[in-house]
Amino acid sequence: MSAPPNLAPLYTAEPKKVATRNAYGEALLELGTSHENVVVLDADLSGSTKTKAFGKAHPDRFFNMGVAEANMIGVAAGLASQGKVAFASSFAMFATGKAFEQIRQSVCVPNLNVKVCATHAGLTVGEDGKSHQMLEDVTLMRVIPNMQVMVPADSVEARQCIHAAAKIDGPVYVRLSRGATPIVFAENYQFEFGKAATLREGSDLAIIAMGVTVSAAMEAAEALAKDGVQARVINMSTIKPLDVDAIIHAARDCGAIMTAEEHQENGGLGDAVAQAVALNCPVPMKMCAMHDQFGQSGTGDELLAHYGLDAAGLTKSAKELIQRKGA
């Protein structure tokens, strides 16, 4: 077990909030300068996905493909087959939903350097409602052979995930969010691809979270500690390959595991963790996720609260799990 990474002073001061998509735009600009072979594609959402700045800086390496996501992924695959590292972006709903087949057939089968970086994932896209709240993207991406999947917890980690994606030889999916979310990590945090980061030690239960629910999990752990429950908090920002060792350790040390994600439980983080737990070290589990349901319009915070994915909801679920563990 490595020492917990450096965290931002999340609860000692007003947390700073930045959307992970902003970090994506900045990382692309950095890659544009350092990597001549990086190209970027978008499907008429470059202002929202934050690829526009790259387009301005490197117009000859930016391809706006219009509202045609399937074609965008195919073109990205063709570019990658000629030696380019192609970042392709749209909203998660369209990038992985409309273009699933192209990602499987044209990117993952030939194992090409296409990085699908999708923004506006999950419930926190908010007011746009269920048509735009992509809750199945991690499921769709993690089941495809050759695809690797990252879900950064905040903008500090997101920037490093994008740089990691550029280094990986093969297809990558990075799930990014629309809304500004609390900064979890200090600037000197070192993301390690394929490794879970334990953000808080504890042995009564482990909360394994991804994306925007990581900060809520940290807040929930604070609340639980006040009631004498010590929760380990694990940031699972690489969903595939999954850090199974970290999960086994958590199961052995804590005897109960709760997962948290703004995503369907079917096929998502919860499923991935449950598979590792069931195969290696069965313990009581609870999945905080969307339970085979669509979302609705509302603010991101309202939606997270409504579906039990904010700090209060996670605290309540953790207490239920602790009771079950004790029974």
Partner: protein
């Protein structure tokens, strides 16, 4: 420049070999798609023997021409042509579709064999070809990207997304050869889903598009030469063909889209393709 007599007979001989190989391969595999490759053989042989800059020495050269077989199910003919160009060992052809073989039922990217992309799912190929064309242009390479497609594949919406984008980006180094035989798996196109005039459609999308007799190797060659002259627009050759061409009982028969010939049918087909009687027994060993 028109084909010389020598070039013409080279292409015609390659087309005939493509048809013979197709029958033998699909027969040996006991499954696969004979009709398409027979129909495409003439324009494919023209492309591979006269235009496509691909050979065993340059197969790993990023700057060489590329070819993407959009209608991937017709790969028996494609594999035959790659074999004739020295990229696929002749003995591998009869392992087509068999367990452990490089020659998969639909093409899988393998630069050792000159296979530039994985295909099989209709609709994806033109986008990929466009990506290759954009990369070549960006790199300042003068290579050309060729793609084969079909009337059936033109029913896929993604083809028209790619057609829109290829014209928008002025991908003049991209040429698609559309096999137009009016037949798809479920029957004749007019009964299943009529795609109407593809030349007019590609033109409306901003392409240089021509209709060409897909069995007239001189006409196909001339159209490919004209495509090379384009400096602003991608080119589409709508190749009018007869599915099953060269084997009388397969011609214009939807039933031969995806069915393998039995021993007797294979021998009959090879005879019609000019294989001497004495070679038939060796070429088509009894399978059962």
């Amino acid at each position: 420049m028109a084909l010389t007599q020598e070039q013409k007979s080279l292409v015609e001989s390659a087309a005939r070999q493509t048809r013979v190989d197709t029958i033998r391969m699909v027969h040996a595999a006991a499954c696969g798609h004979p009709g398409g490759p027979l129909g495409m053989a003439d324009f494919m042989a023209t492309l591979f023997m006269q235009h496509l800059n691909l050979n065993p020495d340059n197969r790993h050269d990023a700057k060489r021409d590329r070819f993407v077989l959009g209608n991937g199910h017709t790969c028996a003919g494609y594999y035959s042509l790659l074999s004739q160009k020295g990229l696929i060992p002749r003995e591998d052809l009869l392992r087509f579709r068999k367990m452990g073989a490089d020659l998969q039922g639909h093409p899988h990217r393998n630069h050792d064999l000159g296979i530039d992309f994985s295909t099989g799912s209709l609709g994806n190929s033109l986008s990929v070809s466009l990506g290759m064309a954009l990369a070549a242009k960006h790199n300042g390479w003068d290579s050309r990207i060729y793609s084969a497609s079909s009337d059936g594949e033109s029913q896929e919406g993604q083809i028209w997304e790619a057609a829109t984008a290829a014209a928008h980006y002025g991908a003049s180094n991209l040429t698609v050869l559309v096999d137009f035989n009016n037949v798809q798996i479920d029957g004749y196109m007019r009964d299943v889903m009529d795609v109407r005039d593809l030349r007019e459609k590609y033109e409306a999308f901003g392409w240089h598009a021509v209709d060409v007799d897909g069995h007239d190797v001189e006409a196909v060659d001339a159209a490919l030469v004209a495509a090379r002259e384009e400096t602003k627009r991608p080119s589409a050759l709508i190749c009018k063909t007869l599915i099953g061409k060269g084997v009388s009982f397969m011609e214009n028969q939807p039933g031969w889209h995806g069915v393998a010939p039995n021993d007797e049918e294979a021998r009959k087909a090879l005879l019609e393709l000019g294989v001497p009687d004495g070679e038939l027994a060796a070429m088509v060993p009894a399978t059962a």
